[in-house]
Each structure stands twice: as C-alpha cells, then as structure tokens.
C-alpha cells in the first residue's frame, strides 16, 4: 500500500529540489527522541540524551489515513515480524535480506491453565519459545541488525544474560557479520553453548550482568570499540523497538483487539515499555479500538528492584545485587525500571514478584496444563499471574495474556532436580505392574 505520513512536505511548488536523501534508510523512523525531555536528534548509533541522559528512542512518521488498507497489507505480509515493517525502524525491503525471520509465534488459548487458575475469561500464553533461537530476543536483534547494516557496522555485539547472546550470534551468522558477545561468567551452560555455537566470539566477564553492561558501555566509548554495533547499547533505540512486535502480534492474533490484562516479565523493563508503546501505536494508526488495558510487570523475588519500588510507592528504582535462578531477569539495575512503574500505575496494573520455588511451580504448571515448557522467565509470569489472581488483583473474568519469553530447554537446571523418571524398572511387564503405573 502507499502509506501516507503524518508529516507533510514544506516544499512549495516552485521551491528548488529537496536536499539529498537522509544518509540512512530505516523506513518510517525519522529521528531519535529523548523519552525524558523530548529533545530530538538525527538517526545515529546513539542511545542516551546529551542533555539529560534519558534513553533515546525511534520517532516515526507512521502510516495514517486508511487503517483498513494497512491492516490488509499487514495480513498479506510474511509470517514474521516483517509483516509490521511499516511500523518498525527498518527499510521497506527488509524481508528480502538474509535474516532469521523471527516472530509471529503462537498465541495459545490456555483453557486448562485457566481452569486450574480459576480464570473464567479468556487466558492466552504468547509463546516466544518458537523463535529461531528460542527466545524473544530474535525480535529485537533482527531490528538491530538492520540498524547495524544502515550504520555500516561489521561487528555485532551485546551484553547479555544469555538469550540475547544466542540471538546475536545466530543473526550475525545469517547476516554475514562478525559477532562478539559479552556474558557474565556464571550463566546456564545451555545459554553459553547456544551463544558460542554460531561461531562468533563469546567473552565471559567475571562479574554480574550489571558489570558486563558497564564494561560494554565503556568499550563503545573507547577507540577499541569503534565500529562495533552493540545491540542493546549504541543500537538500543532500534533494538528495543523489536519488542513492539509482541504487542502487534497479540492484537492481530486476537482479531485486532487489545487484551484486558498482559503479564510481562521485567529484566531491564525494555520489553514491557515497548509493548505498551506498540499498543499505543496500534490505537494511533487505527488498527485497534482504544480501550483500557492493564500492564502487569513480573519479577523474581531475588531480583525485584522494580517490584520493591512499586510497593514502596517510589518512582525511582534502587539497584540490587541479584540472587535468583531466573538469570535472564537478573538485572539489578534496570534501565527502564522507572517507566515500568509509570506504565503499571497509568494502566491500573501492578508489579509483583515470586520466589524461586514459585517460579519452578509456574514452569511445571504451564508444562502440565498446556504442554509449553517455559524458561524461568516464563515461570515468573505464570507465577505472578497465579499470585495476583489469588490476591484478587487480576480480574479472572477478563481477557488475559501471559508472556513466555523463552524455551525451557535453556534453563533445564531449574526443573531437573524435580523432573526425573517416575520409575526405573527392568524391561518386564511384571516389573511395570509392580511399579503401580498400569492403567488397570
């Protein structure tokens, strides 16, 4: 479709030709804008506002005028995040380039889980374990790859708790870029292997994820980091936009409607912030009807700085030293924490945390009722949904979506101790009968 744009040209009919096209083509993204103070800068690999340190994010000229045509174009698009290219900071021909084509993962109607939790409305699990490297990070990295290409970077990098490292390694391999990722030294083995198998460099840092972040921030400020595209640091304004596709897909899969309640895991808070942004954009371009929705943020108790701030009524987040089995959410100093607080409060939602034991219970409950094996972060969202339903905070009659961000195979250790064989027997019918497992 021929998308119209919000901004109209200022050229008069007799004016000289417009100056040369902008140096980068990132589709409808036209500038970077500070989320704190609103200051605008040209598109570049920058991530913090020079005036106030606030996070920079992509600002758009979004399609307007004919929502029906936009909806049809999206529905006719590829079964990946690229169906939403008109709403993302990517060139229009993005789907034709070598990439992993993430997204359009299943939205599972979870009736058996609903029955177990006492939900009388519709309950869905948005299962992002179905992405190419089995976590939602493929969405954000795919956008970052386009930004890396646009800015001429040849090395793709990141600081990671594991999932992002794997996604960067795979996406870089497919795109023909070098990769070098940085992780805390004590990650789950599955995630380390997944990061390394794609052939890039993997550097384990002796410290926490927050130490890794600090190191990477200093690396890009140093001449030895020149030419490196860090997905979640200097490419952050583009990278983070990939999470909006979760909002787009959920609404499209629900027949272009916004659910009443969404439970989202919080590490840095970027995903939650961008899901909210995605919902707002869908309303703005007319693809969904405006309606109230509640955003619920979920953390693990052993790393719950945002939950603690929410419960204390604060609007700033005091960092913590993480101690939880949920390593993918173990960010003690969450950059977008203040926005998570703002969004949870603005939407009438909540921020809650669960213990590691409740995380494991959540993983097993989802697996037992729906056949979905979630990584620990999925155990957090299911656990928080259960806790808030029991507390009467979540409405059991509402349409609710719980997000699972990754595959349980990545975090086997969390459930290995309590998920072994029911019995070990000799290969004989007699032994099986003796084990008490026969149907009759």
């Amino acid at each position: 479709m021929a998308a119209q744009t919000v901004a109209s040209t200022t050229d008069t009919p007799n004016a000289p030709a417009a100056p040369a096209a902008p140096p980068v083509d990132l589709g409808p993204a036209v500038a970077l804008s500070c989320r704190e103070c609103g200051e605008r800068t040209p598109l570049s690999p920058s991530f913090a506002c020079a005036s106030c340190f606030g996070p920079l994010e992509a600002a758009y000229e979004l399609p307007t005028g004919d929502p029906e045509a936009l909806r049809k174009a999206i529905e006719a698009g590829p079964e990946s995040i690229w169906r939403y290219a008109p709403l993302l900071p990517v060139p229009a021909d993005v789907a034709a380039k070598p990439n992993l084509n993430p997204g359009f993962t299943r939205l599972v109607k979870a009736d058996r889980l609903a029955a177990e939790l006492g939900v009388t409305g519709e309950l869905y699990v948005k299962d992002d374990s179905g992405n190419p490297t089995h976590s939602f990070k493929d969405r954000v990295v795919a956008i970052a790859v386009e930004a890396a290409r646009a800015f001429g970077f040849t090395t793709l990098s990141c600081s990671s708790t594991g999932n992002l490292a794997g996604a960067v390694g795979a996406a870089a391999a497919r795109a023909g870029l070098r990769s070098c990722v940085f992780i805390p030294h004590d990650l789950e083995q599955g995630k380390v292997v997944m990061a390394a198998v794609y052939g890039g460099d993997v550097v384990a840092i002796e410290g926490t994820y927050d130490d890794v972040n600090r190191f990477c921030s200093e690396l890009i400020g140093d001449p030895i980091g020149e030419g490196w595209g860090f997905t979640n640091v200097n490419l952050r304004p583009y990278y983070a936009e990939g999470s909006k596709t979760l909002a787009y897909e959920i609404c499209e899969q629900l027949g272009w409607r916004i659910p009443d309640q969404i439970v989202i895991p919080v590490a840095s808070g970027s995903q939650l912030t961008k899901i909210d942004k995605g919902l707002q954009e869908l309303i703005k371009v007319g693809l969904v009807e405006e309606k109230p929705y509640r955003i619920i943020a979920a953390q693990a108790e052993g790393c719950s700085p945002v939950s603690a701030a929410y419960k204390a009524g604060h609007d700033v987040v005091r960092p913590v030293k993480p101690d939880t089995i949920v390593k993918s959410l173990a960010i003690g100093n969450p950059a977008d924490g203040p926005y998570v607080l703002d969004i949870a409060r603005r939407t009438g939602g909540a921020v809650e945390d669960v213990t590691d034991e409740q995380v494991v219970e959540g993983i097993k409950l989802l697996a037992r009722t729906e056949g979905i094996f979630a990584e620990t972060a999925g155990g957090v969202t299911v656990g928080v949904a259960k806790k808030l339903l029991e507390a009467g905070v979540l409405d059991p009659a509402a349409t609710t979506v719980v997000i699972n961000t990754g595959d349980g195979l990545k975090t086997l250790d969390a459930v290995a101790a309590t998920s072994g064989p029911t019995a070990t027997i000799r290969p004989s019918l007699e032994a099986f009968r003796a084990a008490g497992l026969s149907a009759h």
Binding site: E36, S217, N232, A240, P319
Partner: protein, 91 residues
C-alpha cells in the same frame, strides 16, 4: 583527593574530547563541583534541577555503584577511578 573521571562520549564536548580527566574532591559531590570549574556545563548534565544525580545516569567510584553507597556523599579516595555511564537496555 585527586581522582580520575572517565567521561562518556555524550559529555566529551565539555572536556574537549578527552575520555578521562583529573579532578579533586573527597566526595562525589565535590568531584562533580570541581569538574564543573574546569569543564563548565558538565554538572547540569549529570545532576538534575534539585542537584540530585539524574535517574538515567550510573556513577561508579572504583567498582561500586554509588547508589549502593552514599550517592553524592560517597567518599572518593586518593587515586580513585570514577565512571559516569548512561543506563543501557537489558540483554
């Protein structure tokens, strides 16, 4: 106390492009005040209108995030390395 301060890219316009500068002070607040004397304008970038550290800036004295310590009152021992770092997204 004499300390060295690592300057993030977005603040290097105030330090003539230098990535690391020397400063004096026994606390972080004094160090920032000393930075301001030699690099006018830098203080307003790091501190908000109420004189508090902006909420999206991380400051480390040696390896310690000052929010785990005493914030602007955190001691800056002789020879300390101070880093000013913008917050980044998760991974």
């Amino acid at each position: 106390m004499s300390v060295s301060v690592r300057i993030p890219t977005i603040l290097r316009t105030y330090t003539g492009g230098q990535a690391e500068v020397a400063a004096e002070g026994t606390t972080l607040a004094e160090v920032i005040a000393d930075l301001e004397k030699n690099h006018t304008g830098i203080s307003a970038r790091v501190l908000d209108d109420e004189g508090k550290l902006r909420r999206f800036v991380n400051v480390y004295v040696n390896d310690d995030d000052v929010r785990f310590e005493q914030g602007l009152a955190t001691a800056t021992p002789e020879g300390a390395g101070i880093s000013i770092i913008p917050a980044v997204a998760g991974g």
